[in-house]
């Protein structure tokens, strides 16, 4: 038998086949611990904090004491720690490996940013403290605004949007407010390329516009003839991602900007892909009127499993007066916060959320920018574009790039290389999981069949990219060699096998309920 006691080395016995022991009694497998819900682990009597005993003095709740049962279990501190550490180990993460989700910019998250965000002068200050006690916090907002405006070559920036889609909303609201202020109330049609992020059309509609889709040409860019044909005096503007969602720079972008301006509309740029050009190209020089910046993409605030994000939105001279409240201004070396529309110099379109924006993201992003400087940020864009092109160049003999030529910071492949193999883009993605990689963005953009959008970012090393490329090459060859089952069964090495998403949607179970209660809790 293999032994590893008293310094004797482990040896695998020749006569033991490991396959038959795939399942374990506990459900755990070595380092991978199975973990039930807190509702199955804890109890309502358990508590992981020590608080002083309340005095039990008379309450002043006006007879509104809670009578409804809570039923929330607690866990002791060590159990809590273990519960969440165990769960954490079922997650893929950028700190664990390459995370090539196109359009998402999964780059290294420096821990200096985390440390700075936790300084008590930032993390432990209240947004409604008197101005005299938060001058440094206002200064952070002002300083970050300066960096963003300078990097973008734009004269204004709204700092309060809480994520990319919120920033889109901000930019389109500014356009709507400007049009209305100019009496252009007949301009309600917004042009959006078919390849756009879903947030673009959803946002346009939220601002009271209608969406008119523009097709792409054979090079993956805006079809200029189709675009021109759609211009008219009811056009409010265009929402264009640049570099676009096919990972390509819109070569005609200045002409697009000129034409939309001539037609009386405005140019909203989706800044999700700013990482490709930061420090090298200023959106203001391209004719952009408004662009949101995902601090959680380009400026590396962590994605946190789905947020929080932050979406400051730069604005042109024409739109800046319509920026929302609040914003900070420096007067006689003293920072002030303009909180109310009546106190603003321009004509703010309103307030987007409570308080002043995602301060915790501002401190992280500013730390990141100061660390890189203008030279480092330029290098970011260059290495990001270099890495994507390197992947595309080295894989084009086995996979099929959706478009010819160089790309920007993402390499887009279609599924032609899987034709007749029986393997789909989804299967291919799941097989990547077995190989230890997070899959790329799949089936987006919608204009490319079976799309696989790979964004490596600048923080991947050449040797890391080489291993990734070798893996994708091997998978492509395996698919072509007819190893269909390996793909269709994938993943087999992840914490779970493929999950039944159809069942989840058809019979939604959105919360835990006590096993005895068959029926959902009755409504009052």
């Amino acid at each position: 038998m293999p032994m590893n006691t008293q310094g004797r080395p482990t040896r695998i016995a020749d006569n033991i086949a490991t396959g038959g022991y795939a399942e374990t009694t506990s459900g755990s497998k070595g380092l991978e611990q199975s973990e039930a819900l807190i509702y199955e682990r804890g109890s309502v009597e358990q508590c992981g904090v020590d608080l002083p005993e309340p005095k039990g003095t008379a309450t002043r709740l006006g007879g509104l004491e809670r009578k409804t049962e809570l039923g929330m279990p607690g866990l002791s501190e060590p159990e809590t720690m273990r519960h969440y550490v165990r769960l954490s180990r079922k997650n893929y993460a950028i700190d664990l490996g390459l995370y090539p989700l196109g359009s998402c910019t999964m780059k290294h998250n420096p821990r200096l940013n985390e440390k700075m965000a936790r300084l008590p002068g930032f993390a432990d200050v209240h947004p409604m403290q008197p101005a005299s006690t938060v001058q440094g916090a206002y200064a952070v907002i002002g300083e970050l605004a300066h960096w963003l405006m300078t990097l973008c070559g734009m004269s204004g920036v709204a700092m309060s949007p809480k994520a990319g889609a919120h920033g889109e909303f901000c930019g389109m609201m500014a356009i709507r407010a400007k049009l209305d202020a100019d009496g252009q109330t007949h301009r309600r049609r917004v042009l959006v390329p078919e390849s756009a992020h879903g947030t673009n059309p959803a946002t346009a509609v939220q601002c009271g516009f209608t969406v008119d889709e523009i097709p792409a040409d054979e090079t993956g860019r805006v079809d200029m003839e189709a675009f021109k044909a759609k211009l008219g005096d009811d056009v409010a503007g265009i929402m264009l991602t640049n570099p676009n969602t096919c990972g390509l720079f819109e070569r005609d972008i200045r002409e697009i900007a000129d034409l939309i301006h001539e037609a009386g509309g405005y140019f909203y740029c989706d800044g999700a892909n700013f990482n490709a050009i930061v420090g090298r190209v200023r959106p203001g020089d391209l004719g952009v009127d408004a662009m949101h910046i995902n601090l959680h993409k380009t400026f590396s605030t962590p994605h946190g499993g789905g947020g929080p994000g932050s979406g400051p939105t730069v604005l042109s001279d024409a739109l800046a007066p319509f920026a929302p409240v609040p914003y900070v201004v420096l007067k006689d070396k003293h920072w002030e916060l303009v909180e109310h529309e009546a106190d603003a110099e321009g004509q703010p379109f309103g307030r987007m959320a409570a308080f002043h924006g995602q301060m915790g993201m501002f401190t992280r992003a500013l730390t990141y920018m100061m660390s890189h400087g203008s030279d480092g940020l330029k290098q970011v864009a260059e290495d990001a574009v270099l890495n994507a092109n390197y992947i595309q160049a080295r894989l084009k003999h086995v996979m099929t790039p959706a478009f010819d030529g160089i790309c920007m910071h993402e390499a887009l492949f279609d599924d032609r290389f899987l034709k007749d193999t029986g393997v789909t883009t989804l299967d291919f993605a799941k097989a990547m999981i077995d190989e230890g990689y997070h899959p790329m963005t799949m089936y987006f953009p919608l204009v490319v069949h079976g799309a696989m959008l790979i964004e490596p970012t600048e923080t991947e090393s050449k040797s890391g990219l080489d291993r990734f490329i070798d893996t994708l090459e091997a998978l492509s060859l395996a698919a072509k060699a007819g190893e269909v089952e390996r793909f269709q069964a994938a993943p087999v090495h992840a914490p779970t096998k493929r999950l039944d998403e159809t069942k989840a949607a058809r019979q939604p179970v959105l919360r835990w309920t006590a096993p005895a209660a068959e029926e959902p809790i009755a409504a009052e």
């Binding site: 992981g48 954490s88 950028i94 700075m116 006690t133 959105l510």
Partner: protein, 447 residues
């Protein structure tokens, strides 16, 4: 640059593999007129030490909540957060993961979201909750729009005592839609004017309890009237800890409950990021119209339990211009912090924390009421209340700050030109008897 792994040798080899001579050859699609020659006019790269010094210098200009007697609330509250919470949310696997699009390698995030949704539903007395919104104000705004879709009506009534930022965020979201929002005159002690504003065209009525003045409201009567007229009731809250001691919105007839979860796990952060809570009744009409992400239970190919993002046909990436909301990112890591803190507390700790906050607020109310010229306005409150001062509250708050007390929020900061003698003060379990004594004494001193 320490975050960029390539050496110049790597870059050269990669350019060769691509088949171009220089990096500039990869940017030739950029119009010439927009190509920058040199660097943008900003400082160049710096080491950790230098950046740390610069950031610390700005941090040091601020007065942190823990360093002074602190009674500021009005939508964000200072509570004690156990050390375990911040440690766990900094686990690489949580911190540096994306939205769980690949469920097989995202079960950590998905299971915690499922726990989060259950906790939020229990707290609010609702059936289901989503996986979080940006914050309480945007959750409120989204709820108004959802109610309009569900009822197919265009008029929303908001109580004037709902946090004005929540009202403004809702008005902004509704501004260019068909939904109009009527805000009633703020009344400190009743909901009569709100009830009177509900009619047959009302999609929803939004009330906050405890309201922005800290006053608690019984929602049963307004719910009865609203439901009679076919309107939905949206209960908003800015202090989730209140739900440990006061009646759940779901038990008082609310159809949708929205609010701020920042008190649990998240911290002050100068206003963000926070975590919006969004819960509603289990009604098919409602769930299909909900905004935001939802985690749901399912099974894997071996029949074992697992979790996925579900009902995404409501969302922008599928429905595009017909989506229920444009929301994409939510507040994942803050939701995780919330869930971890809530798990540490459990029902017992949560109720205790609420009780302590309330008792401190009662002690504070007695202490301030005893100051000459100062009157507590509320008859029922949880941990925040309004006091009427014999002078301008904004000026008094500045004077208090000068003597080292952060003594609340002048109501005029939320209602410009109104309530100039009203100060909003909050207490939580972090306040000590000494803090309360210092505050009362300082207030007496500056009046």
């Amino acid at each position: 640059m320490r975050y960029l792994p390539h050496t110049d040798t790597d870059r050269k080899a990669m350019l060769e593999a691509i088949g171009v001579a220089s990096i500039d050859d990869l940017f030739t699609d950029v119009p010439e007129a927009a190509r920058l020659d040199g660097l943008i006019d900003l400082p160049t790269k710096q080491g950790e030490l230098q950046v740390e010094r610069a950031m610390a210098a700005m941090s040091n200009q601020n007065v942190s909540a823990s360093s002074v007697p602190f009674f500021v609330g009005a939508g964000a509250y200072k509570h004690h957060i156990p050390a375990t919470v911040d440690h766990l949310i900094q686990r690489s696997e949580f911190l540096t993961a994306y939205t769980p699009y690949q469920p097989e390698i995202s079960q950590g995030t998905l299971q915690t979201l499922f726990e989060f949704q259950t906790q939020v539903a229990q707290l609010t007395g609702m059936d289901v909750a989503n996986a979080s919104m940006y914050d309480g104000s945007t959750a409120c705004a989204e709820a108004v729009m959802m109610a309009a879709r569900v009822t197919k009506r265009d008029k929303a009534v908001m109580a004037g005592t709902v946090h004005p930022h929540y009202v403004e965020a809702s008005k902004t979201l509704a501004k260019y839609s068909s939904v109009s929002i009527e805000v009633t005159e703020p009344e400190l002690d009743s909901l009569d004017k709100v009830i009177a504003a509900i009619d047959e065209n009302t999609a929803c009525v939004v009330v906050q309890t405890p309201d922005v003045f800290g006053q608690l409201h019984d929602l049963r009567e307004i719910s009865r009237v609203a439901h009679e007229k076919g309107a939905l009731v949206i209960a908003a809250f800015t202090e989730v800890v209140a739900l440990g001691l006061t009646e759940a919105p779901g038990a008082m007839g609310a159809d949708i409950a929205v609010g701020e979860g920042q008190s649990i796990g998240v911290g002050l952060n100068f206003g963000g990021p926070y975590v919006g809570l969004f819960a509603c009744k289990d009604d098919r009409r409602f769930i299909r119209q909900m905004p935001g992400r939802l985690a749901g239970e399912t099974v894997d190919a071996d029949g074992r339990r697992g979790f996925v993002l579900t009902l995404s046909t409501r969302e922008q990436h599928i429905r595009r211009d017909k989506a229920t909301s444009n929301i994409c990112t939510n507040s994942g890591l803050c939701a995780l912090a919330f869930t971890i803190h809530m798990t540490l507390l459990g029902e017992k700790g949560f109720r205790q924390m609420a009780q302590l906050s309330h008792e401190n607020a009662c002690a504070l109310a007695d202490a301030l009421d005893a100051v000459e010229g100062v009157d507590v306005v509320n008859d029922a409150f949880f941990n925040e209340f309004a006091v009427r001062l014999p002078g301008n509250a904004a000026e008094i708050v500045e004077k208090l700050a000068k003597v080292g007390v952060l003594g609340g929020v002048p109501a005029s900061r939320l209602y410009p030109g109104q309530f100039e003698d009203i100060l909003l003060v909050a207490a939580t379990e972090v306040n000590t008897e000494a803090d309360i004594e210092i505050f009362a004494k300082a207030l007496g001193g500056v009046l």
